[in-house]
């Protein structure tokens, strides 16, 4: 009986996809890895950023005219809240460092299973030494 299995079209298809992917990526990397590509890509990006900037200024002006808060106003407000949050965190950290309850750090497990696990090598050593005593 012949041991050769018939060709698997699915396997051939997978191989073809992999080859295409590698070839395409390699070609694309060659093109995109050039100085010219980098320059064009960044020029396009600058153009988009310029348009976005203009639109932002236009919207800000309109909101100001309508006596409405702009996005920057809201961000500034959120920043103030964030500052307060950070100050609170710093105070909390300082307090935790000063208050005696912090002495619990390094004083063993607070919850969960015991922290007594040993690596396999230590267990092997201990079983060897026990065996040696017999």
């Amino acid at each position: 009986m012949s041991k050769e299995s018939p060709p698997d079209p699915a396997a051939n298809f997978r191989e073809m996809v992999t080859k295409w992917e590698r070839g395409f990526d390699s070609l694309a990397n060659q093109v995109m890895g050039t100085e010219g590509y980098s320059r064009s890509m960044n020029q396009m990006q600058d153009l988009q950023l310029g348009m976005q900037s203009m639109f932002k200024e236009f919207m800000t002006q309109n909101l100001t005219n309508a006596n409405m808060p702009t996005r920057d106003d809201l961000v500034r407000l959120a920043e103030s809240v964030g500052d307060l949050d950070r100050r609170m965190a710093r105070i909390e950290t300082l307090l935790e460092a000063m208050v005696p309850s912090n002495a619990a750090v390094g004083s063993g497990p607070r919850k969960g299973p015991p922290r007594t696990k040993k690596p396999p090598s230590a267990k092997a050593k201990s079983s060897t030494s026990k065996g040696g005593k017999k």
Binding site: N42, L49, V75, A104
Partner: protein, 359 residues
């Protein structure tokens, strides 16, 4: 049975299999399109600390006893930490828990517009030290092992180098960039002559997730389409589809970046290569990798296109540790830490190295 009959039987079986798969493909393809996002990060955990973009998780133990030293994983700032905990059986966190480690993870949420001013100082002089303190308090242990992935590794290195008195027991860096001038295509695209990072940050404030994701995808432009074709072909294979969907979700949930952090990373690390040249100063403290003396493990992937091996290679030479090791494994940037490749190759090596140093 003659050769001809056997061959005909084989062909018949193959054809039957192909027809069955085609039917399955159609039935499951519809499910695939209409299914909601796959659940991820299912290992039970508590959020023990959160502030702005920062989340610190403590995972529930899954063994009767744990190693004395807790482990803190630091995720890269560009992606969600659920890559450490994709699904049961595909979770590095679950693996570590079952091996007896007490596991904590630093995860990041998308920074809000008011967090656009976050810098390396915030991440390495505030967030990580505070999380280490929380881990100490939660575990009741003085020592902590830190595992950083990609940019999380770079942040961990900066933290370790600027906190030489830190309670750091071990440091593990997974595909961590050190020599940024070896970043390949990124160096070309962010060429100082053409890439105006100041304009980008001043205009946008927060760098959108799409911009960040595009930077990753453009390095392997055919990857996404080829992945979609492969999943269509494998649609009958539930395990393959499940794995594809969780990875796809992770890839699609790239995080935006704080503008100032982007500016500083570009100028100091990418253009100045100051982590490599030891000229980096963060929070007024010099960042010299030679000042890191704790046991260090660096794990790198042979086919990593985002952080090529040459980019991580100098780390072993540069640190001052005497107990240090580099493990070069087959695989890519993501398959190093998640997926079947990681289950077989990286996780057991990490467990073996860390277990010996966690007592």
């Amino acid at each position: 049975m003659t050769d001809a009959t056997a061959s005909q039987d084989g062909l018949r079986q193959r054809a039957q299999g192909m027809i069955e798969r085609a039917i399955q493909r159609n039935i499951k393809g519809l499910e695939f399109i209409t299914a909601p996002k796959p659940p991820v990060g299912l290992t039970p955990k508590d959020v023990i600390y959160e502030r702005g973009t920062l989340r610190l998780y403590h995972y529930h133990a899954q063994s009767d006893e744990v190693y004395r030293v807790p482990v803190l994983l630091v995720m890269a700032t560009t992606n969600k930490a659920f890559v450490f905990d994709l699904a049961p059986g595909q979770s590095m966190v679950e693996f570590l828990l079952q091996k007896g480690f007490d596991v904590f993870v630093i995860d990041w949420e998308a920074p809000t517009p008011e967090e656009r001013g976050l810098t390396l100082e915030d991440y390495t002089q505030d967030f990580i030290p505070n999380c280490v303190l929380k881990v100490q308090q939660e575990s009741g242990e003085l020592d902590v092992s830190v595992i950083g992935y990609c940019m999380g590794g770079a942040l961990s290195l900066i933290y370790a180098a600027t906190h030489t008195d830190a309670p750091l027991k071990n440091l593990v860096c997974l595909t961590t960039p050190v020599d940024w001038h070896k970043m390949g295509l990124n160096n070309v695209w962010q060429d100082q002559r053409y890439f105006d990072v100041d304009r980008l940050v001043d205009t946008l404030g927060i760098i959108p997730a799409d911009f960040v994701a595009q930077g990753f995808e453009m390095q392997r432009p055919a990857q996404k389409l080829a992945g979609q074709v492969r999943v269509w072909e494998q649609m009958w294979n539930d395990e393959y589809v499940k794995s594809y969907r969780v990875f796809d979700r992770w890839g699609n949930e790239t995080l935006p970046l704080a503008g100032e952090y982007m500016r500083q990373t570009t100028k100091e690390l990418i253009w100045g290569n100051k982590l490599f040249t030891s000229e980096l100063v963060v929070g007024g403290k010099p960042v010299k990798l030679a000042s890191i003396t704790v046991p260090l493990l660096t794990v790198v992937a042979e086919h990593d296109h985002l952080v090529p091996y040459e980019c991580s290679k100098p780390l072993l030479e540069m640190v001052g540790s005497t107990d240090k090791e580099e493990i070069l494994l087959k695989g890519g940037h993501v398959s190093l830490i998640a997926g079947p490749n990681a289950v077989r190759r990286m996780w057991p090596r990490l467990d073996a190295w860390l277990a010996e140093r966690s007592i």
